[in-house]
Amino acid sequence: MTMNSVGRPTAPNAAANGAEGFASLTGARGLLQDEPLLFELGGWDKTGVDFDAPDHDASDLGDLVRAAPIGLAGLSEPETMRHYVRLSQKNHAIDLALYPLGSCTMKHNPRLNEKMARLAGFADLHPLQPVSTTQGALELIDRLAHWLKTLTGMPAVAMTPKAGAHGELCGLLCIRAAHEAAGHGHRRRVLVPTSAHGTNPATAAFVGYSVEEIAQTADGRVDLADLEAKLGPDVAAIMVTNPNTCGLFERDVIEIARITHAHGAYFYCDGANFNAIVGKVRPGDLGVDAMHINLHKTFSTPHGGGGPGAGPVVLSAALAPFAPAPWVVHGPDGLTLVEEAKDQAAQAFGRMCAFQGQMGMFVRAYAYMRSHGSDGLRQVAEDAVLNANYIKAMLSAEMTPAFPDGPCMHEALFDDRWLDGTGVSTLDFAKAMIDEGFHPMTMYFPLVVHGAMLIEPTETESKRELDRFCEALLALARAAKAGDAQRFTGAPYLAPLSRLDETLAARKPKLTWRPEHDATPAAE
């Protein structure tokens, strides 16, 4: 036989057991590398792209040419790869573990969608090439629009808004245009529940409306009496999220729509939480006049660290004539785009963005819808709601649900009563979740619940993963109640960085790297 004469030990010895207090000499932590800024790594004369020399110079441009250095840093291709792969490893991601941000719908992002969006026939299309050369793209937009209209029970959809808030803006501009066309330009007030997402009042103010809050009932719904009292001849619209940001279905939604319409106002629905009812309930049957759909939530297009999103807005028959350009129409020579509203529809309120909207997101969302079908989408809603109620039931053993009576929809809301006397805040608790391998839930939102913790698991979590999550949170809750406050108040301990000084960042803003910049800013 041959002998291994090197004799390398193949089992850990005692010294490798427990590295408490161990620090590396370089600051690296095994696979987790410290990574400087691009500008500290790269050089002005370094590049990762090879070009041919130009045939002509820029002498024709005279002094319009930029003489001074731009101030960019370059890296070769291998250095670029390392830099960004190292940075990527400092991020939490859905592909890694549960990402239970309430009202954000962090579900699995199918890679089929990515593959489809990258087909040259979609990705390599110019928005202004002749429509005769983009019939398949227009057909896809038209099919997606058909799905969105069918799923919401609404007759029209404006496809161009680029995210949820942009969709809200589009919806309110339609409403404003409709009021003005009817001679009701004096309607300038918008009613928004106290639990609304910040984009609702911000959007209303953006279009020049004043904002008034609608009170909430003890069971977390719109207070009908308060709504009725505040409705009047100067109200343009109400903006209500349904299911709402407490994770509850507005039981009285049909009545809300009725009294809103009786006062001549429109019902804008924030569709951020559409995932809870997709395939089961059509907002059109509830009396909604306009609702944006976050394709990056319900229809699985990736959040990408903060976008891009897409926020098509479905519209009732009353609002449809005011939708912005461009839109797809069927003509004698196939599909075409109406790009200039003035020609064909004098009432269109204008334009939301430069081109046709988020085509790359349309392809992904359509691939997702086709994959699920009407049957799969209904199952999406049911599983999303089931998962949330399961979490609510499991965690109620130690935590206090904000609205214990009755089921929740796709997200479970807890308050911080159960932390009373522990010296641990909602923030501390959330940060301790990081050490256990989970992304924190949405905290301190909605504003109507003290120390709110809003947990949205989505339908793409397995029971095993939900159990792991619940066990971790219950163990943390017991630790907090047992007086182990330090586990929380200093958390996270195991993340790439510990808590960051947001006060310093805001008092002395450093928003760009500058050459004279110290590597580490001094603490104040």
Partner: protein, 146 residues
């Protein structure tokens, strides 16, 4: 103060010894602004209670000098990391000076809210407005009700 943050459940104890040696008594509003009158000019700021509630102040938007303000209207904004709050004018008048030092050192509002952390000096349009405000014992009693 129109705050969007949740107040802690325990009301902090006021600790402002600098008030004891003041010549002119301070007056307070239910929105936690204070006023100190010297002749026909009032110095305006936010109370220690308000500063404590806000947490670390990171920015103060003071009013332009020369601006006419009306009692009850927002005339300044004070920001912490997670909250922006309007500061309402306790009295009416014309702004004669703004506290420029807060631009570089907003933390002064936390360190000395009822002294160096003042926001603006206002030439009073209606001195009677001051009389309608709470004195310190009344304000402290009011805080206990929150």
């Amino acid at each position: 103060m129109n705050q969007r943050v949740f107040p802690p459940r325990v009301i902090p104890v006021l600790n402002c010894p600098d008030n004891l040696i003041r010549e002119n008594p301070m007056r307070f509003t239910k929105d936690h602004e204070w006023v100190e009158v010297d002749g026909d000019v009032a110095t305006v700021g936010i109370t220690a209670y308000a500063a404590e509630q806000l947490g670390d102040v990171v920015f103060v938007e003071t009013p332009d000098v020369g601006k006419t303000i009306k009692a009850g209207d927002g005339f300044a904004v004070v920001e912490s990391v997670k909250a922006a709050s309007d500061v309402y004018a306790p009295i009416s008048g014309q702004v004669v000076e703004a506290n420029a030092a807060l631009g570089d050192a907003p933390e002064t509002v936390n360190a000395a809210p009822e002294a160096a952390g003042w926001f603006a000096k206002v030439k009073l349009a209606n001195p009677a407005e001051v009389e309608a405000l709470m004195d310190r014992p009344a304000y402290e009693a009011y805080l206990q009700t929150l």
